[in-house]
């Protein structure tokens, strides 16, 4: 007869079977604190119990990989003895209830994951999804989230250089807020959060601990009275200033040989950070919660262990190194509590002064997480032909450029400091951002991508498309794709259709990454994005980094010189399902998304890199949402050069030609005498090339039907955000 009531179990999100398993593992009943600790570590968030089996299929190895999934962030070699450390993470739920602070603390969390590894954060990217702007609450969420991301990143001093924003009904009330961070560290200083030596000292540094983010509202009723729910803040106020100090302190600590591990506190706070740190090193840890600095009086051991207060770090030092470490904290006016030690037995022991409050085997807590494989069910789908009219291409183009999903993101990214640290070569606004690797002549290209409409129509193909598009964005700058991080935002996996979406999406991610030879080195899963029974569209977000060895070979996305010839690389098919044009026309979301031909995509990208590096092309811009006419308009606006093209021709309908979203296509411009070089390389790779027209003038002119002055185009494209 278990001690824990059904209610207690619900509050720690454990099933009865899981409870029985715990009793079996412990060979006794857990106490309240212990049950809370299990609940936290066996949660979806920490234990990945629904997704772990699926994620195992992702390719994560490779020559460049220095650290795959499993640490705070992944790391890859970028030459010159340096490593890029990066990861993406979601903060959807907090952002839904307090958009500014929710997004801000999301940025804070991902920054910590990177500097915890000893790397200096050099870039932030944000991938955002909201419901339509016409609804005031969505506008409020949008404005708050954007302000929160800027508020944290700007104050911290890390440039926000890229990201994406899209709008769809499926995100009303449940915005998606994913933040990616990239950092750089010399190989030898890459730090893993593992404590391998018993006797080492555990310090807790940074903010005082409050009752933040503790779940199980009325759990452990013995310790808490009925007012305890009111004592728990639902959202925290981010402190980017403190985080900046923590970062600088950690980077200095990272230079000390006596510092053996640095670990940030995230989900499940001290419990998870201390357990993982010790477990990775094959050791145990003993903590005295009485020593932890608190923001409030009367906090229980349970509250201290499970608090998710932000801007805190665990630092493990050799006993001899404590004084040196403290000197660094003092210099930054940070206080550090000596909360415990690393122990030889692989157990988590929690004391409160003299009293032993919890004593649990780490293997049971971490390795024994019971995995779940919920039922999966594919929806019934039919291949529907999507045919759409195109009456007035000029009006249609202007209307497309005004669409919230396509219009210029400048009103957003100009509120983000995207230049601090003096390395931003190509900032937000083009295909991928390009940053100089300080002290070298090489660059890192960064992007995030994901198209919720394609993944709604087919999560497998849609996720492949996202990987392909991310790689294409990177290649357009001249960089070679190197590695992937990803954030899987899905609905409630206990619903068979949602679990099917998740499974298909991960399969698509794995297959595409394998085809491109790209390792997935980090990522994050956000499930249960369900509001009043409505699940969000399947939303995998791909973050990718690429390397450009010689920055002088970079390629801009806008047209550069009058007289250059504009070529379309790749094949245009009759593909309008899931397109922005279909949404403009009010067509229902149905049919099959654009086909992804991974082999063709690889050949295209290889050939494109070749022509960029040999200097044959002066610009490259990938075609994505909005298709060819939108891509032409963007390249004209980016480069401030007009375009003259004869009427578009092809085997497909006028609408598909103008606005279809066939994958694997790029617009390049080349000086006339280099066009044969482009054609030769493309022919060798089997990539179709269509010469579309020439750069020049101050109009976008495509056949007799489209003739728009650039300033009119810009006016449409740069319309204000609150225009619905």
């Amino acid at each position: 007869m278990p001690l824990a009531s059904a209610r207690d179990l619900r509050e720690v999100s454990l099933t009865e079977a899981e409870y029985r398993r715990i009793v079996e593992l412990l060979e006794r009943e857990p106490n309240d604190l212990e049950l809370g600790i299990f609940g936290a570590l066996w949660s979806e968030h920490c234990g990945y119990k629904t997704s772990k089996r699926l994620l195992a299929a992702l390719p994560s190895g490779g020559r460049a990989v220095l650290q795959g999934p499993g640490e705070n962030a992944g790391a890859v070699d970028i030459g010159n003895g340096l490593a890029a450390v990066f990861k993406i993470e979601s903060h959807n739920h907090p952002s839904a209830i307090e958009p500014y602070q929710g997004a801000a603390t999301g940025v804070g969390g991902i920054l910590r994951d990177v500097f915890t590894m000893g790397a200096r954060p050099i870039a932030i990217l944000d991938s955002l999804r909201f419901g339509p702007l016409g609804i005031p609450h969505n506008r409020y969420l949008f404005q708050g989230v954007v302000a929160g991301i800027g508020g944290y990143g700007n104050c911290f001093g890390c440039p926000t250089v890229g990201g994406e924003i899209s709008f769809d009904e499926g995100y009303s009330d449940n915005p998606i807020v994913n933040a990616m961070c990239v950092g750089i560290v010399p190989h030898g200083r890459l730090r893993r959060a593992r404590a391998e030596q018993a006797g080492d000292i555990v310090l807790l540094v940074g903010a005082a601990t409050g009752r933040d983010g503790i779940h199980g509202a009325t759990f452990a009723s013995v310790e808490m009275d009925s007012t305890s729910a009111a004592r728990r803040p639902a959202v925290q106020v981010g402190n980017p200033f403190l985080e900046k100090l923590l970062c600088e302190a950690c980077l200095q600590l990272n230079e000390l040989d006596d510092v053996v591990a640095i670990q940030d506190l995230g989900a499940a706070g001290l419990t998870s950070a201390a357990s993982e740190l010790a477990h990775r090193g094959g050791r145990g840890v003993e903590i005295d919660v009485a020593v932890v600095s608190r923001r409030e009086r009367g906090m229980s051991a349970y509250e201290v262990m499970l608090s998710e207060s932000q801007e805190r770090m665990l630092v493990v030092v050799r006993p001899d190194g404590e004084a040196r470490a403290r000197a660094i904290f003092d210099a930054f006016e940070l206080h550090a509590d000596r909360i415990g030690t690393i122990t030889p037995q692989q157990r988590l022991r929690v004391r409160e002064g003299r009293a032993l409050r919890a004593d649990l085997p780490l293997r049971a807590l971490i390795d024994a997480v019971p995995l779940r494989t919920p039922a999966a069910m594919a929806p019934v789908r039919r291949a529907v032909e999507v045919a759409l009219p195109l009456d007035d291409p000029e009006d249609a183009l202007l209307a497309m450029l005004r669409r919230p999903n396509l219009r210029s993101r400048r009103p957003v990214y100009r509120t983000y400091d995207h230049q601090v640290q003096n390395n931003t070569v190509l900032g937000p606004g083009g295909d991928a951002a390009l940053l100089r690797v300080a002290g070298t002549s090489s660059g890192l290209a960064l992007t995030t991508d994901g198209n919720p409409w394609y993944t709604s129509l087919d999560p497998y193909a849609g996720t492949q498309a996202a990987v392909a598009e991310a790689a294409r964005n990177i290649v357009c700058t001249g960089a070679r794709p190197l590695a992937v991080t990803n954030c899987l935002n899905f609905g409630n996996p206990e619903r068979p259709q949602v679990f099917w979406q998740l499974r298909e999406s991960v399969r698509g991610l794995a297959d595409a990454c394998r085809a491109f030879g790209l390792p997935v080195v980090s990522g994050n899963v956000s499930l249960y994005n369900e509001t009043s029974g409505r699940n969000i569209p399947p939303t995998p977000v791909i973050g990718m980094i690429g390397l450009l060895e010689d920055l002088d070979r970079r390629c801009p996305s806008g047209f550069q010189e009058d007289g250059d010839v504009i070529c379309l690389l790749g094949e245009t098919r009759e593909e309008l399902a899931g397109s922005e044009y279909a949404r403009l026309q009010g067509a229902p979301l149905q049919g099959l998304p654009p086909r992804v031909d991974l082999d063709a995509e690889r050949r295209l990208q290889g050939a494109l890199l070749e022509v960029i590096h040999e200097g044959s092309v002066r610009s490259a811009h990938d075609l994505a949402e909005g298709g060819l006419l939108v891509g032409l308009a963007e390249a004209a606006l980016f480069g401030r050069h007009g375009v003259r093209c004869p009427a578009l021709t092809g085997q497909v309908s006028a609408a598909a030609l103008a606005f279809g979203e066939s994958q694997g296509r790029v617009l390049v411009s080349a000086p006339p005498r280099r066009v044969p070089d482009v054609q030769k390389v493309m022919a060798a790779a089997g990539v179709p090339v269509h010469a579309l027209g020439v750069v020049g003038g101050d109009e976008l002119q495509v056949g007799p039907a489209v003739r728009i002055r650039l300033d009119r185009l810009r006016e449409a494209w740069e319309c204000a955000w609150d225009t619905p």
């Binding site: 302000a147 900046k244 230049q419």
Partner: protein
């Protein structure tokens, strides 16, 4: 020329300033911590951009009480060159080394973008060698750069030729559409009566290489080098 770059808790342009002066211009630099009191070896002191103390309460309000600021005040008094960039400008105002205050941008939003500045005077230590009316292209990055001074102070700034930079169109026209933050009279930078203390909102240290979009920031740093050389002769 030996440059000291002050680092307050929360400062972040310190490294960018060091990069501009040391890596690009080859000048010796050292960082100066907020508790230091000795600037004896320095010719130029930069208060860089960032969010000192998180910009909590008011930008620069807490930083101005740090020990280093007493030293900076003395250093300025003795004629040393002091350059406050962005948050550094705010600190100089809070410390009353420069007049006025910087309010929230009129848009109430942070702005990070390139702007054009018109050079309004060429007698200060940081503008010697520039042409009056010359247009510089520099990035801004701030949420509170909306210059305010009461009419009497404005009058003094005006008549003593202490308005150093104004936001302008690329053609050099001071106009509302070229003003990114609502600053009174388009003011982007001012100096003290002696011309040895300059505060400005834009970031010259971010404009030192064509690779990153432009190098007009060097004009300002070079002017400081020249002023010091001239003083040494």
């Amino acid at each position: 020329m030996k440059t000291g770059i002050v680092v307050f808790p929360g400062t972040w342009s310190d490294r960018d300033c060091a990069y501009a002066l040391h890596d690009v211009l080859g000048e010796p630099v050292r960082y100066v911590g907020h508790r230091e009191r000795d600037l004896g070896d320095l010719d130029l002191v930069i208060l860089p951009g960032g969010f000192s103390y998180g910009d909590y309460l008011r930008c620069g309000a807490i930083a101005r009480f740090t020990p280093v600021m007493e030293a900076v005040a003395r250093f300025a008094q003795d004629g040393g060159l002091v350059l406050g960039i962005c948050n550094g400008f705010q600190v100089l105002q809070e410390a009353r080394l420069l007049p006025g205050a910087l309010l929230r941008n009129a848009s109430c939003e942070f702005r990070c973008e390139w702007v054009s500045l018109r050079v309004e005077q060429t007698w200060s230590a940081f503008t010697q060698g520039m042409r009056p009316g010359q247009v510089l292209s520099l990035p801004i990055s701030h949420g509170e750069g909306n210059f305010y001074a009461d009419p009497a102070t404005l009058e003094v700034l005006q008549t003593n030729d202490r308005i150093v930079f104004r936001y302008a169109t690329p053609q050099g026209q001071v106009a509302p559409q070229a003003n990114p933050n609502g600053s009174t009279a388009g003011i982007a930078g001012i100096c003290n009566a002696r011309g040895n203390v300059l505060g400005l909102m834009p970031h010259p240290e971010r404009a030192c290489e064509a690779l990153l979009g432009g190098s007009d920031g060097l004009v300002l740093f070079r002017a400081a080098v020249m002023a010091l050389q001239a003083a040494a002769v």
